[in-house]
């Protein structure tokens, strides 16, 4: 669980997504700058000095990564589905789609108007028979079909679906009323969501809306709007007889059914579970108007904990192999990852992290889980047909209708309330792992239940998850956290999608930098583990070949992937340090500036061993840019300890010499520059040499020897010095050019 504690440092602070987009300028600039051969010979020896170059990032546990999730997160879930797969598709209304976190719209979602967890967005449920599964454009929907195997669920929540909606004007008109109904229907749950946070005892089941019998939703006649507040009654009484005392509003067979369900229970856990499942079903039925229509006697009994325990291992291999068949860069993975981040946020407290990981493998289910009130996911995902479909779709190369993720990448500011939540989350996790996926109701209920079960036994799976999850989990937890916060605080629909990052799935170690012009696709973004390999690869290649263009390109793409995924940890620091060093060596100050700006922020967020060193470089960079204001600010903030640091002390001395025009001292210090400061100084030594030479020329009479100038300007040889002086058109007193005639050369002074 300490994973969670650490997680607070991972993605907490805002990142500047722009930086990823604006960092291509210096790409071609690998100008061969003067280098300090005597200090920083290229090649291995350089890196010996900087451990950052050689640190390895091997994560042995990584190999188990995906596999593990398929087992833990998805397995039990599927098995449960298979049990209850025939559990009517019909009674499940699409109305919950509003609750589903819609896939990203094709355009950048404006944070305020973007699809929100609140169900205000109109989503016309389409009741026409399902489209053939080959519909590539809306693979997302198709996937849902594939897994659902339910014709009604033509979820049109995605951006693509919106487009489709436009085209299907007729459909829309036809279902407009329906739509209204659903909007109405969807409205009520929100206020309770707020209340339930604070109120431990929600309305008892008796206030279940006494719904008039309504025709099944596949008629286009909309049912009358429901009374708003009890639309989502949440039963918190753990006792089964809460359900055994139904009001007269319940049909007899439903009562019987409920009784049967409870009869099945063996343990308290079972009861609670059944409690939840039943309520989900009844609520669902009530909301879709099937409460009376439905033949409850035929309703399958919900899977219970004790039973399921035996089932899980059986189903597992199937699922596993199924998902291992998914092509590496396949769409489902990509989509899944993207959705995963979001779905998990919506699910928030509905499941343990194992489920959130499974999300990256099973987007469809995840999607539905996010709508935890809806029993969609119970539908037969285990039927062979759906599996076939699913597989075929995952191979579909096109995936239109993705939203701009970049808009969500920006600021991830966590509020303090979130920290408080984290504790809650842990508790929930324990509980939900215990109950696995069968828990099905809306997240509010889960949250409340979590309170009861906070001391419940911890499933072994959970522990494993913690071990294997690494970053992904941390982040998800945070998403969930932040979502919860938002969800509770923000029922009006101001949901800020910029808080969420995608999780990449690309496995390429090498990837060229390409400026993002649109939202990044998850399949084009590499996860941290791959990036660590990439960094090692770049370092190795750099040591070997010194190909700056290649290194810069690769590092930029690593940086971009990190930015896109909102990863800000020690590894990010290392990437930027590496790039900064390479840029330093090659005199690419634009790239260096980008890196050091990021590093400055990263150090304050996550710290780093080379902080002082790079602080010194930054000060030197300010000298290079003659940014006295920033120098001033920096001197304000330097602590006495930092001032004592060798590199920083050196730069401070240098700054003083530079500021006073004490060139002699300046160039003397230049000769003893520690670390890589010499490289930064190279950027402005030429400028200062010219300044100093002008002073020399004006103040010395009658002449000054080239050897003196060589010494004063810290040139290594007189030839080099003469090469520098040649550009000015000076007058020499002798043919050997050892003495500069200062007076005669004064004429050229203004042009120097």
């Amino acid at each position: 669980m300490d994973e969670d504690n650490k997680s607070s440092t991972v993605v907490e602070t805002p990142i500047q997504q722009i930086s990823a987009q604006t960092e291509s300028n210096g790409l071609e600039e690998s100008s061969a700058q003067q280098t300090h051969q005597w200090m920083y010979p290229y090649g291995m020896s350089v890196y010996g000095q900087y451990p950052g170059y050689t640190e390895g990032y091997n994560h042995p546990s990584y190999a188990h990564y995906y596999q593990y999730y398929s087992q833990v997160g998805y397995g039990p879930y599927m098995s449960f589905n298979s049990k209850s797969d025939e559990l009517d598709g019909k009674k499940i209304s699409d109305s919950d789609d509003g609750k589903i976190n819609p896939p990203l719209p094709p355009g950048p979602p404006p944070p305020t108007t973007a699809p929100t967890p609140t169900p205000f967005i109109s989503k016309p449920p389409i009741y026409n028979p399902p489209k053939p599964f080959g519909n590539i454009r809306f693979s997302f929907n198709n996937k849902r079909h594939a897994n659902d195997n339910t014709p009604q669920t033509n979820s049109l929540t995605s951006g693509a679906a919106k487009k489709k909606r436009k085209r299907n004007k007729i459909n829309q008109n036809l279902f407009n009323q329906q739509n209204n109904f659903y909007n109405n229907y969807n409205l009520p749950p929100l206020p309770p969501s707020e209340n339930q946070q604070t109120k431990p005892t929600p309305p008892p089941p008796e206030i279940m809306p006494p719904l008039p019998p309504v025709p099944p939703p596949d008629t286009s006649v909309p049912p009358p709007p429901l009374p708003s507040e009890p639309a989502k009654p949440i039963i918190m009484k753990p006792k089964p007889n809460a359900f055994n005392n139904p009001t007269d509003d319940w049909p007899q067979d439903l009562k019987d059914y409920v009784n049967r369900c409870y009869a099945k229970c063996k343990t308290n856990i079972d009861k609670d579970q059944v409690d939840i499942v039943l309520k989900g079903k009844i609520t669902q039925a009530a909301s879709s108007g099937e409460l009376w229509v439905k033949d409850w006697s035929k309703e399958p009994l919900p899977s219970i904990h004790s039973e399921r325990m035996n089932l899980v291992p059986k189903k597992l291999p199937d699922q596993l192999s199924h998902y291992q068949n998914v092509p590496k860069k396949g769409i489902s993975v990509a989509m899944g990852a993207r959705l995963g981040a979001r779905a998990s946020t919506l699910r928030g407290n509905s499941r343990s992290s194992s489920s959130s990981r499974s999300s990256s493998r099973s987007p469809t289910n995840n999607y539905k889980k996010s709508n935890s009130r809806s029993p969609h996911r119970r539908r037969s995902s285990s039927s062979p047909l759906s599996d076939e479909n699913y597989r075929s779709i995952t191979k579909t190369p096109k995936n239109k209708g993705r939203g701009k993720l970049i808009d969500r990448l920006g600021v991830t500011k966590k509020q303090t309330a979130k920290q408080l939540k984290r504790q809650k989350m842990k508790e929930k996790k324990q509980f939900y792992t215990e109950f696995g996926v069968s828990v099905e109701e809306n997240s509010e209920v889960l949250q409340q239940r979590a309170a009861r079960f906070s001391s419940g036994p911890k499933a072994p799976a959970d522990a494993n998850v913690t071990i294997f999850n690494g970053n992904g989990k941390k982040k998800r937890t945070m998403f969930a956290d932040s979502f919860n916060n938002k969800f509770i605080e923000d029922p009006n629909g101001d949901f800020d999608w910029t808080e969420f990052h995608i999780v990449g799935t690309c496995q390429d170690v090498e990837k060229s930098f390409l400026r993002l012009t649109k939202a990044p696709e998850a399949c084009e973004v590499r996860p941290v583990e791959v990036l660590k390999l990439s960094l090692q690869n770049v370092k190795a290649k750099w040591i070997e070949k010194q190909d700056y263009f290649y290194a810069c390109d690769q590092l930029k793409s690593i940086r971009q992937d990190l930015t896109v995924q909102g990863i800000r940890d020690r590894f990010t620091v290392e990437v930027y340090e590496t790039h900064a060093r390479i840029a330093l060596e090659k005199g690419d100050h634009e790239e260096f500036n980008q890196c050091q700006t990021q590093l400055k922020m990263l150090y304050s967020e996550v710290g780093g061993a080379h902080r002082n060193e790079f602080t010194a470089y930054r000060l030197l960079y300010y000298i290079f840019t003659k940014n006295t204001l920033d120098i001033m600010t920096m001197m304000k903030t330097l602590s006495p300890e930092e001032r004592r640091d060798e590199t920083i002390a050196f730069t401070l001395r240098l700054r003083s010499a530079w500021s006073l025009g004490n060139f002699h001292r300046f160039f003397r210090l230049y000769g003893e520059a520690p670390c890589m400061t010499g490289y930064v100084m190279d950027w402005f030594t030429q400028r200062e040499r010219i300044n100093y030479f002008k002073a020399l020329l004006k103040s010395y009479r009658p002449h000054i020897s080239v050897s003196n100038v060589t010494q004063e300007l810290a040139f290594k040889t007189e030839e080099e010095c003469l090469g520098f002086l040649d550009t000015f058109g000076l007058t020499f007193t002798d043919v050997d050019r050892t003495l500069i005639d200062c007076k005669a050369s004064m004429a050229v002074l203004p042009s120097i």
């Binding site: 805002p14 304050s604 002699h664 100093y692 004006k698 103040s699 020897s705």
Partner: protein, 386 residues
């Protein structure tokens, strides 16, 4: 208030809407939901403004500064819209001044209260600056009204508010367009004197940071001379920047002035520079480093060392009474005053710089290791050099 609103008395409303007025401490106004009450008395859009104001007071009362800031920010935006829709009238400007000032003060307060590591410093102030800029644009764009009623007269007040924010968050480059707008304004001379002084104070500081000492001198001198004699605090602030600038240009402030405005840190500095006492100079730099750095004048004060070199070398010249000063003599003088790590070459370098800058007339002879100074006025007065 309603009456004032109708009679368009900006000043009284400004007082009533101010967060610094006495009424803020009135317990009766600490209300959580003032909407209903306000609606009874006031009409749209003024009711919204007052509601925001009361909410802000409520937040302040509970020490929730961020919330208070947000309400004040909303208030500013509401007021911006109101003022934008007022054609040919500028009576509401005092309200805007008050609201903007409160907004900035609140933002500063919030910044001070925030100590979360993950909060970007200056973020709130930046947002405040955006709101202020919104007001500024309205004023600047109001160029169709007649001269008496134009809102452009309010520009300078807003610019000064913005300066204060920008200087605080170290974004001086953002001042440039504002300065341009003011300099090109036809009302340049008709702005209130106090605002002009504030404006020049900031522009002078900016010029100083840009190493444009001449301009800095002009602006700061104007500000200092026109600043009301009773506002000692402001005069002191101006002096902190004016003294180093003046000294760099060769003007030495009198002790009385420095004492009057409680900036005696400079007096020792003046002495060290005048005497060429480098040891004292270094000591002062150490002693008052925090003060100099806090005021942002460390780098300028540091440059005074060059003047101290010049004065020291002049003393050596006067003592030796020769036009050919051995470099060794200069070096030993430096070493005597604590600069013992300076070798002959470095001494030459210092002299070379002084010659280059015109502070010494003469030349260095490398062969003889001598500084040959001009027979006429070898150490010209610093005044009029640059």
């Amino acid at each position: 208030m309603d009456k004032c609103w109708r009679s368009q008395d900006g000043k009284i409303i400004a007082n009533l809407i101010s967060l610094r007025n006495d009424h803020v401490t009135n317990k009766n106004l600490v209300l959580d939901r003032p909407e209903a009450m306000v609606e009874r008395f006031l009409s749209n859009p003024f009711d919204e403004i007052v509601t925001c104001h009361i909410k802000c007071i409520h937040a302040l009362h509970n020490k929730m500064y961020l919330e208070a800031y947000q309400f004040q920010s909303t208030l500013t935006q509401l007021l911006t819209k109101v003022i934008q829709n007022q054609r040919e009238e500028n009576w509401a400007l005092p309200i805007m001044y008050t609201v903007c000032l409160d907004l900035r003060l609140l933002a500063q307060k919030v910044e001070k209260e925030r100590n979360n590591v993950n909060d970007k410093p200056g973020e709130i102030l930046e947002r405040a600056a955006e709101s202020l800029l919104g007001c500024f644009r309205i004023c600047a764009a109001d160029n169709r009204s007649s001269e008496e009623d134009t809102k452009r007269i309010g520009m300078l007040t807003l610019v000064n508010q913005l300066f204060k924010v920008y200087f605080r968050i170290n974004k001086l480059h953002l001042c440039k367009p504002l300065i341009r707008a003011i300099e090109s304004s036809p009302f340049k001379e008709s702005f209130a004197l106090s605002e002009q002084i504030t404006y020049r104070y900031f522009v002078g500081r900016k010029a100083m940071f840009d190493s444009d000492y001449k301009a800095a001198d002009d602006y700061l001198t104007y500000a200092f001379e026109n600043c009301h004699r009773s506002s000692i605090k402001n005069k002191r602030l101006i002096l902190i920047y004016l003294v180093p600038v003046k000294m760099l240009l060769g003007y030495i402030p009198s002790k009385q002035v420095l004492e009057k405005y409680d900036v005696t840190q400079f007096w020792e500095l003046v002495q060290a520079v005048c005497q060429g006492n480098l040891r004292l100079f270094d000591d002062i730099m150490d002693k008052h480093e925090t003060f100099f750095i806090k005021c942002g004048i460390y780098l300028i004060v540091e440059k005074l060392k060059i003047i101290a070199y010049r004065n020291l070398f002049r003393k050596v010249y006067l003592i030796l009474n020769t036009h050919q000063i051995p470099v060794e003599a200069l070096q030993s003088a430096l070493a005597l005053l604590g600069q013992d790590d300076v070798d002959l070459d470095e001494t030459e370098c210092i002299v070379a710089n002084l010659i280059f800058e015109g502070k010494i007339k003469g030349y260095i002879s490398r062969q003889h290791r001598k500084v040959v100074v001009s027979k006429q006025n070898p150490f010209p007065s610093l005044i009029g050099l640059s």
